[in-house]
Structure formats: C-alpha cells, structure tokens
Symmetry: C2
Subunit: 413 residues, 2 copies
C-alpha cells in the first residue's frame, strides 16, 4: 500500500526533529495550534457543515450528528484544551531508574518517545486535535485516521495544525491525517509494523475488535466499559442511590458510565425501590433477574444483558447472595474498565478491591471518575482496558517508552 507506507516514511523522518525538540519548542507549537484553530474557526465550521450535510443525507442518527457537530464555542473549548497540555510536564527525558553496578557501569533508564503513534477513531473531530496535541507534547509523530463521517472537518483541522507547527520550525509531518478513509487503508495502517510503534483505537466495541483482530502492530485497547456498581448488604442506601444515579445518568454515552447494578439480596428489598424511584427521574429502563423483578416492576434481563455496554438510559440488575458472588459475576461479564462497591464492610472492601480484575476499582464513589483529568494526570488519549503498557487513563507518561543508557570505561563481560 504505497500511500500508507509513504505516511510511515514521513512520520519516521519527522521523528528525528521532534524527539529531540525542547519542551519550550513543543509548547510553542501547541500554543500556535491553539491560536490557529481559533483564527480559522470559519474554515473549520464550513468543512464541518459539509460533514453534517452528508451525515443527514446518509440518515445519521441525532446522537451521532451531535458528536460530529462543531460550533464556535466547541472549537474554542477544544483549542483551550490544547493549552492545558502546554501546562502539563514534559514526560520525555525523565530518568526513571538508575544504578551504578559493582563493575562501575552507570545505568540510567530514561523516558523517550514511543516514536510514531497511530490513532484510529470514529466521528468525533475533537479527537483529531486532542490526539495530535498529546502526541506532540510527548515527542511522538502521529498518524490520525478518523472516520469518513468527519473527513472534511478532519482535513481542515489537520491542515491548520500542520501549518501552525511548521511556522514554529517543526516538520509538518509530525501530524499526518489519513485522507483516504477506505477500509483497505485502515487495514494497511494496522500492519505498518516498520513505522508504527503503537496503534490506539478509539471508538465502539466494533472498531476496537476489528483492530485487535487485524493489527500486527502493538495495540492499546481502549474504552469499552461495561461498568458495574455492587450495593453490598451494609451499604448506606442514600449514598448508593446518589452514586448509581450519577454513574448511570450524568453522561450515559461515555465508557465510565455504569451499565449494571449488582445488589446484595439482604438489602435489595429496601434499596431497589429507592434506586428505581431516583432512576425514574431520567426514565432509565431496568432489566432485572427474577428476584429483582419480585421487588420492583422492571423488564426481564436476558443473558445478553449482563455483558452489554448500553451507552444509554438502560441498566441491568442482578441480585447476589454475597460479595464473592458479586465479584464472580463482575469478573465474568466486565470489560475490565471500572467497577464500584458501595459498602460499610471492611472485609467486603478488601475482597472487592483485591479480586475484581478491572483497571479501576472504586469504594463508595462513582465510576465516572475514571478519567485522566479526574485522576490528576491531565488530558488523556483514551482509557486502556488491557493490561500491557497502560491500564486505565492513558496520559502523557504512557505515551513514552524507556531506553537504557549505560556509561562505562572499557567494561567487558
């Protein structure tokens, strides 16, 4: 695939200047991106309106159109988020470990950029800017492959960013957009082992799965979140009601929203009516097992419900007889994103935090906090649900690898 191979060659050539760029220069480039985005709002909005027209013509749903739509205010917000990345510490060059060996060898483990990061995503044009900015700050060249639904918006923003960084002296190929949005090109990008150091897919379960199945380059799986909240027998019911309402309804379309309520049999009779009453305020549809349905009037859950990430005002309800059964249910159906326990039992906390096998495990708090900003890491490029390299929010430090630098004076082995 000539086209994608050339993007790889360009990215590698651009790496040299970027990997050794000073923090000051990278921050100057990011500031230039912010200013250029604001200065070229009309151009971006025109391109975006083309995408929106095409979307409507192709029968795109309202919620997808909403994700695709930009406005002056949204562009300002996205541009300002680039300035937040300026304020974050540069992860490159940090000496993470080191020692002097008995033979006098001095060993340092230094953080260095990964090299070239590829990002495959869907119809959110803000990802084009977020991902480019995070990769630039961490010294990585980036190859962006957004969905065809947003291609005009992406071409416009990528061109604005490329010109902005070139004006401050960086190679414009530090940021590249795959303008050919057919599937073959995406597949070729997934197999570009010679040039791509890591591929991060951002999107729904279908996209993630396609990347995992087809990629030969290293991948960080992100985002699919079938998040559970377990209400233990000793839970404070008011707290449980508040946390479930927040985790389910504050933003149902995101990966850290709760999808499944697991409840201890002993508290179900008291807690379920209160939980349902609160969720009714937002018309949440509940799908429960037989026992739950004896207590509240809800729809029956099918086996499929336990494993479904609804991303909607829907939630499954499972009753269990103890924390062990809750843990087993969660470890069976979870996608490994975020799970919470509401309890007042020390023993339950110990079991739940040790045995639940997910990237983030909460005690008496909403799953909605799984987010780079909320954790105090600043912006993130996604939430990793795999165990290799990064688990949980993927921030700037996770966009680096390490190199051992060993200084000697003639040592042989």
């Amino acid at each position: 695939m000539e086209y994608i191979n050339q993007l790889g060659i360009n990215a590698k050539a651009a790496q040299n200047s970027l990997a050794s760029a000073s923090t000051a220069l990278k921050n100057e480039a990011l500031t230039a991106i912010c200013n250029a985005l604001k200065a070229n709002k009309q151009k971006i909005l025109e391109a975006n309106s083309l995408d929106l027209e095409n979307g409507k013509a192709n029968g795109m749903s309202d919620s997808l159109l909403d994700r695709l739509a930009l406005s002056e205010k949204r562009i300002d917000d996205i541009a300002d988020s680039v300035l937040e990345i300026v304020a974050l510490p540069d992860p490159v060059g940090k000496i993470k470990d080191g020692s002097t060996r008995p033979n006098g060898l001095n060993i340092e483990k230094v953080a260095v950029p990964l090299g070239t990061v590829a990002v495959i995503y869907e119809a959110r044009p803000n990802v084009t800017i977020d991902a480019a900015a995070l990769c630039l700050k961490s010294g990585n060249t980036v190859i962006l492959r957004g969905g065809k639904e947003a291609i005009n918006s992406n071409i416009a923003t990528a061109e604005i960013m490329r010109n902005a960084i070139e004006a401050v002296g960086l190679d414009k190929n530090c940021i590249q957009l795959v303008e050919n949005t057919d599937r073959e090109t995406a597949n070729a990008l997934m197999k570009l082992n010679k040039y791509v150091d890591v591929l991060i897919p951002r999107g729904g379960a279908g996209l993630i799965n396609s990347v995992v199945q087809n990629a030969t380059v290293p991948v960080i799986e992100t985002g699919v979140g079938n998040c559970h909240i377990f209400v233990d027998s000793t839970a404070d019911i008011d707290m449980a009601v508040n946390i479930i309402f927040n985790a389910k309804t504050s933003r149902p379309s995101v990966c850290n929203a709760a999808e499944s309520l697991v409840i201890h049999r002993e508290i179900a009779e008291k807690a379920l009516p209160a939980i349902k009453a609160k969720l009714d305020e937002k018309n949440v549809t509940l799908y429960g097992d037989e026992e739950a349905r004896k207590i509240i009037d809800i729809l029956p859950a099918a086996e499929d419900d336990w494993g479904t990430e609804y991303l909607d005002y829907k939630m499954s309800v499972k009753t269990v007889s103890d924390v062990d059964e809750a843990i087993e249910h969660i470890n069976t159906y979870s996608t490994g994103h975020s799970e919470a326990i509401i309890t007042n039992s020390y023993e339950s906390v110990q079991k739940f935090t040790q045995k639940v096998n997910s990237s983030a495990v909460y005690v008496n708090a909403s799953t909605r906090f799984t987010d780079g900003g909320q954790f105090g890491f600043g912006a993130e490029i996604g939430i990793s649900t795999q165990k290799l390299h990064a688990r949980g929010p993927i921030g700037l430090p996770e966009l680096t690898t390490t190199k051992f630098v060993i200084r000697g004076n003639g040592q042989i082995r």
Copy 2:
C-alpha cells in the same frame, strides 16, 4: 480449538488462588520446584535422551543438539536458578503511585499480576523452568509451548513442577504445558484473547515474526539482536579491540552479541588491523565495505550483511565519515536491541545516546551486558526489543500490570 481453550479455562481458574497467594507461599512453591527437579534428575535425563535420539535421527545440527542437551550439572544449575528467583523481591502489591484528590478521593496505583502469560519457545528445555518460575513469583499462571524437539524433556519437567506446587497447596494448573506441538495449536494459543493476557515468544527471528504476524493477543517481541559497535575517531584503540573481541566472541549465539562493526574513517587505518588481528584469534570472518577492504583483507559485504544477525563468528564492517552517519546506519539496520559507541568525545556521546533508537545504548562498554542479571534486576524472561510495556530485560516487575484502587465516601461527579 477445544484443547487450547481448556488450558485457558484452567489457567483462569488457577489465577484466583495464585494472584492472592502470599510471597511466602510462592517462595515455598519455588523451593519445592528446585528440590523436585534435583530429586528427579534421572527421570528428566531419560526424557531428554529420547529427545536427543530423535534429534540425531532427524539430522539436528550439533549446536541445536547442544542447546537441547541436559546433564546432571545443567539440571542442578537450572534448579539453583529457581532459588535465585526466591531471593528476588515480590513485585505484586507494590504501590507505585498515589494521591488524594481535592474532592477527598484517595487513589492508589497498585502492581498486580498480568493474569495469564503464554510463552512460545524453541528447543531449550531450561526455558520451561525459568519461565514457569518467573511467572509463579509474579503471580501469573503460565501456558508453556516449547518446541517439539524438546517435548519429552518439557513434559517431564512440567509434570515435576506441577506436582511440586500442588504439594504446597497451589493449583497445579498455575503451570501448564501445551503437549500438542502442532502448528495449529500454537496458532490457536496466539488467538486465545479471552484467557491470555500477554504472549512472549522466545527464539529466532522466524518464530518472533510468525507470532507478530499471527497473534491477536498482546505480544512482547523479544530477542533478535543485530547489535552494532561504533568506533569513533577519538576512540582508545586498545579499548575498542577489547570490547569488540568480547562482544563478538564471548558467546556468539546470544542476542546481545555484536554483529556489526561501524568505524570512523579517520581511525580506520590504525584501528582495523588491530581489531582484525584480535578477531583472527577466534577465526572471525569479516564482511566489509570497499573502504574497509582497502585497509584489511576481508570478504566483501553485501547489502544483506548490514541487517543480518549472524549468531556466529562473523561480523560486518562499515566505514562512516562521522557519528551522524553511524547513527543513521545503525537506526536503519538495527533490530533495536543494544548498540555501543567507543569514543572520547563528549559531543559524540551526547548524539549517540540521544539519537540511537535501541533498548540499550552503551558508551565504552560491551553490548554483552544487556541482561537482567548484569543490570541488577535478577532473572529475566527475555529481552524486549519493542517499545510497549517492557523495553530491554523483562524481569519480575515487567510481569505485572497495575490497578487503580479508589476509596471515597460517596463522591459523585
């Protein structure tokens, strides 16, 4: 693939007990493995002699037969290396980071086992024991798939280890061997995403490449080492001669052995004859570019030589006009393992250590030090040449991932 799927199910079931096993119990199990291997030496040697007979009948080369062969002494050494792993700190449970957020949430980032590690390797029966011991200490269940050449030795040692750990109270399925050595079974293991958290291939370039191309589970690439030594114009020639001789000839079959000499034009006339004279002691065959061949009488290098990992008493010789050209040559042909510069120039050191894109970069020392033991990390399961998760020696800490544990008192977002 029913068979391999069942191994995955077994491994996952065994994880529960192992992940929460105390360091004391894991060390007891490792000690039991050491003792059992020593007590069952005859059984292992009988199985190994079957493998050796088959190997000879199939025309296996002497060097492969040598890798395959066990002896009482080798079994003792391998068993003792298990005790070295007992002495290493347990990586599980280490709190790697943490904070209290302004909203009162307490966030800890805790090291936890990866889960299930699969290892695919060739005809070295010692890997069966090394890999099992490292995985056990780091709380991971392991699925071992060795080469068919060593299958009898592997079945014998795996059975001894499984019985030993069961006797101290662990699930014997913490260690499993794939007894079916056909290619379909290996391919099924590479796609066992539901159960395998990471796959580590150990072997030659063909095996590594096959895994990278076929696996859908996360992979850590290991080991292929086309290591370079660059002799700069200011090098101490005696030091250069010693380091090159050591890096090339002390153990030519290993991945951190040097394969390519890169030499500054200005020092070539003085240094090359001395280097050749020393390498002649071990009958090293040199393949040089035209300029090198004007100085010493060696064979011509073809384009292929620059990228070849000889693993033999052979070495390529490339002349360059400065450190920048050396860096470019190395970054073009290297496999990203280990490279060294011999120099007395501060500027060359800065350029070389910053711009050479490999897991270990040496100044005035032999590449042979890239090794978990030499770096002070203890035993290793391989040397990663990729950038994700682990780069360089893969020791016990790299066999863990992290989990965020977040404690609150009702926080919502």
